[in-house]
Symmetry: C2
């Protein structure tokens, strides 16, 4: 006996999502059948809308349903600073702190020779063009992840941008707020000591 076709297809679809195996997909599919019809229809519609109505901002590369995006259009933001992130969702993470009021630029990845990803595969050319076109930018903050690839990408960008007389900075490394020294790894502790601040 096989599952009826509609449910087998739905299980297949759920399995295409990251981190969802056949057991979870089956559970989600049966759950879906018991959901309210309204909710399922809205879910289907939002999937299609997210795929078809969203695209990348032609200036910063962030995900948007308008072009340029809300942030690039906002003349109230500090036009002198650009914060560079790996992924669109990082923009939201930084913006949620409420402390940064400049512009963003999304690379859509990091340099990774192992995966065959070089500078041309990232959204770097448009960043350089932006800096050349806009003389008001005085600082580029590189907020790539604290991974080896993120560090290498930050170094690469720094070497590329600094000669133009623009300040290039990197997010601080150190202990996470609320974390125990006991559980911090050696590299993090090393960076935390190096970057100590005066009280």
């Amino acid at each position: 006996m096989q599952y009826p076709e509609p449910i087998a297809k739905l299980i297949d679809s759920y399995m295409k999502l990251p981190g969802i195996g056949s057991k979870t997909a089956t559970r989600l599919a049966f759950y879906t059948i018991d959901m309210r019809t309204d909710d399922v229809d809205a879910f289907a519609k939002s999937l299609v809308a997210a795929k078809h109505d969203l695209h990348y901002c032609s200036i910063c590369g962030n995900i948007t349903d308008d072009d340029p995006c809300e942030i690039c259009r906002d003349s109230g933001r500090d036009q002198g600073t650009i914060l560079v992130v790996e992924q669109p969702k990082d923009v939201m993470s930084i913006d949620r702190t409420g402390d940064y009021h400049g512009l963003y630029h999304v690379l859509h990845g990091v340099l990774s020779p192992i995966d065959g990803r070089g500078p041309d595969d990232l959204n770097i050319a448009s960043l350089i063009k932006r800096l050349q076109a806009n003389a008001t930018v005085h600082e580029v903050i590189v907020a790539t992840n604290a991974t080896p690839e993120g560090e290498a990408t930050a170094q690469y960008l720094s070497r590329l941008i600094k000669p133009a007389g623009i300040k290039v900075t990197r997010l601080a490394h150190g202990l996470a707020v609320g974390s125990d020294i006991e559980y911090a790894d050696e590299m993090t502790l090393l960076k935390a000591v190096e970057g100590r601040t005066e009280l």
Copy 2:
């Protein structure tokens, strides 16, 4: 800054699924945007199809896109045995063993006074009708879960069906195949000793 509306709606939809919080929902939503358009469209279609094309079999209560379901229509199956399960997905779990060739009946839940679920909320009346209409049934196997509610439901069904002269059996309790005695709980070990078989 807020997420663009299409992505905010998709995150909301993912969060309606069981076990998916806002972080996972956000990750899935961004993943969806990078999926192939074909796959997203197929996903949306399969959601709608699963909700609208599937219903419960009027005989056994299993999920089906036909009525009666594939199993109830199959005259090659042993018409003398009915195996009673809690949920439609349990039918597939049992059938996959390939060792049971009788019919099924899906209760859609178990008796649970705490949740206010009594016999009338389960698919029990139709089981009794089935047994009355079909004199060939000589055994009902109760395959509810090995939980207190599952046991209580099994006892209830047994008291209801036995007076009609039909044999009522329950799945065996014991050690899971491949498991260590060291990690088995006391109740399971007790049942395993009680139900020991001769070699």
